[in-house]
Symmetry: C2
Subunit: 389 residues, 2 copies
């Protein structure tokens, strides 16, 4: 077990109707003027918007509204929000939505407390020193942003999607009502399940030694999420399955599954290049294509790790490690397929000659490699992209 | 899954030599004068005391020392510590030790910020409103007090051991170096393993419906801890096993394993009566006797829960739920026995006629029942005590 620091201070209010307490919760912290970010009009149709506004009003909280956060949240939106946050002097940012709204809110929270442009943090040219507090009402089980230290935004001027990690990015509170995800489409639900699994698998498939407890917790999350995903494909209103997915979303990305392990997030870096370049590709769908391809490329370096995954998560009964590893990867892929996920990049209708550009993006123009299992340079990343076209 | 609030804000610094950073860590919070509580002279013999004092000195932190915390920490000690904390105006309490030192420190931290006597909180006649911050350097994997909201002290004037829960009881930080537990005796190591398991099992064996994800995480902790316990009986210097036990100690009691479940801690209440009355009984040893006895008394109310435990934690291969449940309880008991734990109250040499008094203590003089599976009143609790004499 490697040394680690574990710090997941987000207070999670989990359960039915919890969004109606948002005003009370914010009032307890003493904030009186907040910015509320959200996405499209769907929260108005569902009634969530009215519930939230009502609760905020009852607690006499003044709200600066910023609707219109897009999937793969955009830098230009964040810059506008930062400007308004500074002008209005809001004391915190409330995100009502999924990972995109959350990450947009987190970036705004950091941007509001600095004279630097937020993109400087994504490009690692500066480290954030301060941020407004953030809180959220979660409407999608996927990104795990509600408890994570990460924040990913897209600079649409240059088609680059990039994240930065900071303890300042942790939400103060997260309101998680699984019922709010009942209306998430099958496809988006499946994308979310893949994202949750990927966050856990990225930490599981790393080069360090087994870590019995963290391994088993990761396997627990994976097994529970696979099971919940299967239920949800048939019955999207199953509360227990929605609740499992939502709680797994938080636990998969709050660092619990990397305690004592390396935290590489290699496949995420490939996917960020993909959905940064092709904005219409949902992050989870991109991961569904890339994860099995990456796994088949690297598993030979340590087949026993993949074999353990196969045996414990998908109950594969095969004594030979290499064979078990490959069966496990196929099971993962089959599961993604069973949920309607694409298996090839071709299915996104992206040009075949994009692979080189994607590999360049991943390597920041051939200036870096991605280390995990096999050190992936430009050539190898290109091969992985090509292998799943 | 029941609604829940999850809040585990303790920052955990886990790994080798981390105790040497304690001064730096405390300095970051800005505290300049602290009280340091510890137990017997063992931390002086091991060199830990010198390392800690050196680190605190380097960070120019003034230390008010309170050595001599006893196992089952005593109210009289806490009262003295509170007085000194108030007189010296310390800004935080640092616990260097195991669960007893931690709980003594937590009680002092609460006591220092009130005019009430600390025992009022244990007797539930008052609710703490404020506390000094606490931090710890952990030297024993057992109580989980390093991340928990609980604090248990013993009033030796009346032989009553009682705890109170409060978010104020959560440590700000916990320094967890598994190497510091190398010198813990086999017997005390085993007691710790039982305590960790009990914290998880108390939340697992409750009357609510299965909660797939929380169940699996609990089973992961149990499986990893059983495995680590077996290793440690043969090789107390196995770093991985010590690390597994230590991290499991934190996770078993930071409420992760009660998310979505009832949190009953029924057996702990029986044990608190036992070691409150008979101070020489280690908490873990008391639990090792009482847990199987309690389980055999209540399992019939929901054998499937105990059967799931048997199958998933001890790999019991038995289709019939009732049979599987009993085999699982026997496996638990055998495991305790294999670690040198007692199986009967007789082994503690306590008088046979104590059972009635213990049952009275548990029920606060027949004024309450303990609810979980079967509602346990005075008579039933007496029967459970008698069944394991």
């Amino acid at each position: 077990m490697r040394d680690f620091v574990y710090y997941a201070p987000t207070k999670v209010y989990f359960g039915k109707d919890k969004q109606k307490d948002v005003g009370k919760i914010i009032k307890e912290y003493g904030y009186k003027t907040i910015m509320m970010q959200y996405g499209k009009e769907s929260i108005k149709k569902s009634g969530l918007y009215d519930q939230v506004m009502q609760s905020l009003k009852e607690s006499e909280i003044t709200v600066v509204e910023m609707g219109g956060v897009e999937p793969n949240p955009k830098l230009s939106f964040v810059r506008r929000a930062v400007k308004i946050a500074k002008e209005t002097g809001v004391e915190m940012i409330l995100a009502v939505g999924g990972g995109s709204v959350l990450d947009s809110s987190k970036a705004t929270a950091v941007g509001a407390m600095t004279d630097l442009d937020v993109w400087e943090f994504s490009m690692r040219r500066a480290v954030p020193q301060e941020a407004l507090p953030t809180g959220c009402i979660l409407t999608h089980a996927a990104a795990g942003s509600e408890m994570s230290s990460s924040c990913v935004i897209t600079n649409e001027e240059v088609n680059i999607k990039r994240g930065f990690g900071s303890e300042l990015n942790r939400c103060k509170f997260a309101i998680c009502n699984p019922e709010l995800t009942y209306t998430v489409s099958k496809y988006q639900t499946a994308c979310g399940i893949v994202d949750i699994m990927a966050h856990t698998m990225e930490r599981y498939f790393t080069v360090c030694e087994p870590t019995d407890l963290t391994d088993r917790i990761a396997e627990s999350i994976l097994k529970a999420v696979v099971s919940a995903g299967r239920v949800l494909m048939d019955n999207p209103m199953d509360y227990e399955a929605r609740a499992t997915a939502m709680w797994a979303s938080s636990l998969s990305h709050n660092d619990l599954t990397s305690c004592g392990r390396e935290n590489a997030l290699a496949v995420h870096q490939l996917e960020h290049a993909l959905s940064g370049e092709f904005d219409f590709i949902p992050h989870g769908a991109g991961l569904a294509v890339l994860f099995p391809a990456w796994a088949r490329y690297v598993y030979k370096e340590n087949p026993s790790r993949f074999a353990q995954f196969a045996r414990r998560v998908f109950d594969v009964n095969e004594a030979d490690d290499k064979k078990a590893a490959l069966i496990g990867i196929a099971e993962m892929e089959n599961f993604f397929k069973s949920m309607g996920m694409p298996l090839t990049l071709r299915e996104f209708n992206i040009p075949k000659d994009s692979m080189e550009r994607l590999a360049e993006q991943c390597t920041f123009g051939k200036t870096r490699t991605i280390k995990n299992y096999v050190e992936l340079d430009f050539e190898r990343i290109k091969q992985i992209f090509e292998s799943c076209y």
